[in-house]
């Protein structure tokens, strides 16, 4: 049964007392970023956002809600899959060989506070891509993370999680649900309150230590309704087609030329995407030549070097690089990892400097595809 919390202070304090570094949303430099929180009052109480293609603005809210805003520029991959990390270092031995060692540092134990349902899915997508080999740094980092979900009651103008197959809320909790606690925020004249459910044994144990009240049925019903209503207020949708087939069938579509004329190939969309996982390796050595290191850093398929083979890049045109991004997210991810690589958070729309909208592009491709299959007698449709 869900319970009611009237403050998140005890939750943050309890997590910190358990040795977690609590990371959550907070206002910094005109945006809601993810940063380490010492106290619950660092959450963005009273802040909302106004989102659009290529636009992000903070706005003051009439209420004190902390989670009535949607995805900021960062995602949790920042912490699970850091932008730059050392993989190992190597020292030359006296016999001309070398010894390789991984950095000894233990990964930090994070508690993620305020994970949106779309971002919870993104974490699970990353788990499937990067966590496959159990004995890797991603898996070790991921293992100890405590996840507090914040269900969405106020989707942004650029959100489309529902048509991406997720939802503004997580389902009822059970062990293995992928989160430890799930909050639904209720903000009104009485202030803010949280209907809280647990999704794991760890979640229940923590909840037991907090000063909660019973959640009366009308309150839990209100919370449920707020999430359900959010599902109907999504700013955008993806076409309701089989996107894998659609994108495999439109590789030579004219729309790619159209979007290529607008795209700057800046790679912002891949950097803010919560599931883009690509990396490059950098090998370095010091002046003596006896010490070498390997570092891993985020990479984008919009970078020319990404597909470099001696002689030149495979994807030299912008058209081919934008096509790689969109077809990978929505199409070939299914082939490679058995699910979509897009969770509908809308970040790529907001942070594109020229406002390219992945949903609009996909609708345009769908229209072109339909027209082309109609030309062929609509055989593919029947």
């Amino acid at each position: 049964m869900p319970v009611l919390l009237t403050s998140l202070d005890p939750l943050v304090a309890a997590l910190r007392a358990d040795g977690y570094r609590v990371v959550g949303p907070t206002v910094r430099d005109g945006a809601i970023v993810l940063a380490e929180l010492d106290r619950a009052d660092m959450l963005p109480y009273g802040w909302g956002v106004r989102l659009g293609p290529g636009g992000y603005r903070l706005r003051e809210r009439d209420d004190r809600a902390a989670f009535a805003n949607s995805a900021g520029p960062q995602s949790w991959k920042q912490f699970l899959h850091p932008p730059r990390q050392q993989l190992w270092s190597a020292e030359r031995d006296s016999d001309g060989g070398f010894t390789v060692a991984e950095p000894a540092d233990e990964p930090p134990r994070y508690a993620f506070l305020g994970v949106r349902p779309c971002d919870l899915r993104a974490i699970s997508v990353l788990d499937h891509v990067l966590g496959a080999g159990a004995d890797n740094r991603y898996a070790r980092r991921r293992e100890g993370i405590f996840i507090v979900v914040a269900n969405c009651t106020e989707p942004g103008e650029t959100c489309f999680c529902v048509s991406a197959g997720g939802g503004p809320g997580v389902g009822p909790g059970h062990d293995g649900a992928g989160y430890d606690l799930a909050l639904t925020e209720l903000a009104d004249d009485d202030g803010v309150r949280y209907v809280v459910d647990a999704g794991s044994e760890d979640g229940w144990r923590l909840l037991d230590r907090l000063p909660y009240e019973a959640a009366e049925p009308p309150t839990t019903a209100r919370a449920r309704d707020a999430v359900a209503r959010a599902a109907d207020r999504m700013g955008r949708t993806l076409p309701a087609a089989d996107l894998r087939a659609l994108l495999a069938g439109t590789l030579e579509a004219a729309r790619w030329d159209d979007v290529a004329a607008r795209c700057l190939s800046c790679g912002n969309c891949t950097m803010v995407c919560p599931t883009c996982f690509c990396t490059s390796v950098e090998d370095t050595t010091d002046l003596t030549g006896d010490h070498a290191e390997r570092w891993l850093r985020w990479e984008s398929c919009f970078d020319l070097d990404f597909s470099y083979l001696h002689g030149g890049p495979v994807r030299s045109s912008r058209r081919s690089r934008y096509r790689q991004w969109l077809t990978h997210k929505l199409g070939t991810w299914h082939d490679q990892f058995g699910e979509s690589g897009c969770v509908g958070c809308g970040r790529c729309i907001v942070w594109c400097p020229v406002g390219i909208d992945i949903t609009e592009e996909t609708h345009a491709l769908a229209a072109e595809y339909e027209a082309s299959t109609d030309d062929r007698g609509g055989g593919a449709q029947r």
């Binding site: 490059s280 990404f306 070939t332």
Partner: protein, 268 residues
């Protein structure tokens, strides 16, 4: 993900820019590679690149043949006997040997592409009785760029037909001039029971596959080894994508039935 130290215990200069290295584990060995698989080969402090295994499956030593085309391959090419390099692997799909008893085996290599095919040639020599015809067709830009020339007579003696052609002849060349797919035209084999293994520049593989298909070899029986940028070898870095494929995991060896629709799309 960490490279294992391997010492260079033998080195042969194959051509002006290509060398074969014999590598033995300093401590722990990696698992034996199957023909067609590759390793990630690390030059200390310089970098790491994918290189196919060019020697027989062996847990005690690894053989690589590589062409110096950039910083990392230059450093590896220049490695001396006694020097220690790093190896990870083996990775990727293999040639799928042995193929069914009684098959014809057509092995086609262009340039450095012959290196990953040599283990398949060794397999065919080793199990020669298993197959009907075995042919190795080799192409290079010039006679000086031909790899493993000292072995061709042994291959022939072992019952393997060896066809050689060069794009440009020099004054000493008495052999064929032309592109590799031309060698297929005159070759005798039973298309429906042929398996072809092909590695070389992408255009060469396309024309070779086309010639084989024209003769009636089923597309799935033509296996090509594809090259893309690779940083990890373990399906984590994203660089080696070719549409739905992650070539370090789903390749490098791919049936032409799958490869053709993908390599046919420009800049995929």
């Amino acid at each position: 993900m960490m490279p294992l130290p391997y010492r260079v215990t033998g080195r042969r200069q194959e051509t002006s820019d290509t060398a074969t290295l014999i590598l033995e584990p300093v401590r722990q060995p990696m698992a034996a590679a199957r023909p067609g698989q590759f390793s990630m080969v690390y030059a200390f402090g310089v970098g790491e690149v994918p290189i196919s295994v060019s020697g027989p499956p062996d847990a005690d030593l690894v053989v690589h043949t590589l062409r110096a085309v950039g910083a990392v391959t230059r450093a590896l090419h220049d490695a001396r006997v006694g020097q220690v390099l790093g190896l990870r692997g083996p990775y990727g799909t293999d040639w799928g040997l042995p193929v069914p008893v009684g098959s014809d085996l057509v092995i086609v290599g262009g340039g450095i592409g012959l290196a990953p095919l040599r283990p398949a040639v060794y397999h065919a020599l080793d199990q020669r009785a298993r197959y009907r015809r075995v042919a190795v067709l080799i192409g290079a830009r010039t006679p000086d760029d031909l790899l493993f020339t000292k072995e061709y007579d042994d291959w022939r003696a072992g019952g393997v037909e060896v066809g050689v052609t060069v794009d440009r002849a020099d004054t000493t060349w008495a052999g064929r001039v032309g592109v590799v797919p031309d060698l297929i035209t005159g070759l005798e084999f039973a298309p429906e029971s042929t398996v072809a293994l092909v590695c070389g520049p992408e255009v060469m593989m396309r024309f070779t596959a086309r010639a084989l298909l024209r003769r009636g070899v089923p597309p799935a029986a033509v296996r090509v080894s594809l090259e893309r940028n690779m940083h990890c070898g373990t399906a984590l870095c994203g660089h080696c994508q070719l549409g739905p494929l992650l070539l370090c995991r789903d390749g490098p060896v791919v049936g032409y039935d799958r490869a053709q629709p993908l390599t046919g799309v420009k800049e995929l």
